[in-house]
C-alpha cells in the first residue's frame, strides 16, 4: 500500500535555512569576465537545458539549436540577471521561451501558445480504474519503458508538457516552475494536476493489470 505516509507525514515542515547557492559565485565571476566560470555553468546545465528544449519541442535538431541560443542569450544578458532567482531557473526560462518561439514558427504545429491548449478538460477526468500490476519497472525493461514514457508525454499538449517536465521530470519546485514559465503558482498547480491525470490515463493502457485471458 502507498498510504503509509498519510499518517506519518509531519504537519509543519521546518523552515529551510538560507544557503548561498554555489552558482552565485560562478555568476559573479562570469559577470566580471571570467569565461572559465561561465563555461563551468554551461557544463552544469547543458544537459538539462537540452532535455527541457527537447521535451517542449519534441524535435532533436530544434533542441540543439535552442540549447546553443539559450546559453548565448544568457551570456549576452548576464548583466541583466539580478540574482532574484536561481541562475538555473533564469536559464530554464530563457530556454522555455526559445522553445515556445520555435513551436510558434513551426507551420505544422497546431498549438501556438501555452494557453490555447490547456482550456479543455479532456483527458483530465479519471476513467481507468485498474491497478497497475506488476509495477511498470517489472513489466518492461529500461529501453521499452523509456519508449513508452516518451510516446506518452509526446501526446500531452505543450502547456501541460512544459509544466510536468519542469516539475516532475526536472524536479523544479512549484515556485521555480511558475517563474520559469511566467505563470502564477495556482496556474502551475492546476496544469500540473491535469498533466499528471492525463499521463496516468494514457499510461494505464500499458500498465494496467491484465484481465485473465487477455494477452500481455
Amino acid at each position: 500500500m502507498r498510504f503509509s505516509h498519510l499518517l506519518t507525514m509531519p504537519a509543519i515542515q521546518s523552515p529551510a535555512t538560507e544557503e548561498i547557492h554555489p552558482d552565485v559565485a560562478l555568476v559573479a565571476r562570469a559577470k566580471a569576465g571570467d569565461t572559465a566560470a561561465f563555461e563551468q555553468l554551461v557544463r552544469q546545465y547543458e544537459r538539462q537545458i537540452f532535455r527541457v528544449a527537447q521535451h517542449i519541442t519534441q524535435n532533436r535538431e530544434d533542441a540543439e539549436d535552442i540549447t546553443q541560443d539559450a546559453f548565448l542569450k544568457a551570456y549576452e544578458k548576464l548583466d541583466q540577471f539580478q540574482g532574484n532567482s536561481k541562475f538555473s531557473t533564469w536559464l530554464v526560462r530563457i530556454a522555455v521561451n526559445e522553445s515556445l518561439m520555435r513551436l510558434r514558427k513551426r507551420k505544422t504545429s497546431k498549438t501556438v501558445s501555452m494557453d490555447e491548449d490547456v482550456k479543455t478538460e479532456e483527458g483530465s477526468i479519471p476513467r481507468d480504474f485498474a491497478e497497475w500490476r506488476p509495477n511498470p519497472e517489472q513489466q518492461y525493461n529500461q529501453a521499452e519503458l523509456a519508449d513508452i514514457l516518451r510516446k506518452t508525454i509526446q501526446g500531452l499538449p505543450p502547456g501541460f508538457r512544459s509544466v510536468f517536465t519542469l516539475r516532475d521530470v526536472e524536479n523544479l519546485s512549484t515556485e521555480e516552475t511558475a517563474e520559469a514559465l511566467g505563470l502564477s503558482v495556482p496556474a502551475v498547480k492546476s496544469r500540473l494536476l491535469r498533466a499528471r491525470l492525463q499521463l496516468r490515463e494514457r499510461l494505464s493502457r500499458y500498465f494496467r493489470k491484465k484481465q485473465e485471458g487477455q494477452p500481455a
Partner: protein, 81 residues
Amino acid sequence: MNCTDLLSHLSDYFDEKLSPKLLEEIRTHTAGCQHCRVVLNTTEQTIHVYKGKEIYEVSDELRERLHTAIMTKCFASKRKS
C-alpha cells in the same frame, strides 16, 4: 470529502502540503472508495516513473558537440562586443 474534492487536493497531496485534517479526510475517503484509491496509487506511480528519468538520451558525443558550439558562439559574441 467526495471524489471531486479528493481530485482537487491531489497535487498538494503529492507535494506533501496538506494539513493533517485533509490527510485524514483523504485516508478515510480512499479506505472506502476503490476508484479513488486506484487513481491515487497510479498517479503516484506516474510521477515516480518519470521522476529524474532521462527519456531523451544525451550522449557524450552530443554533449561535447553542444558544448563546443555554445562556447564558440559565446566567444565570438565576446569578441564582437
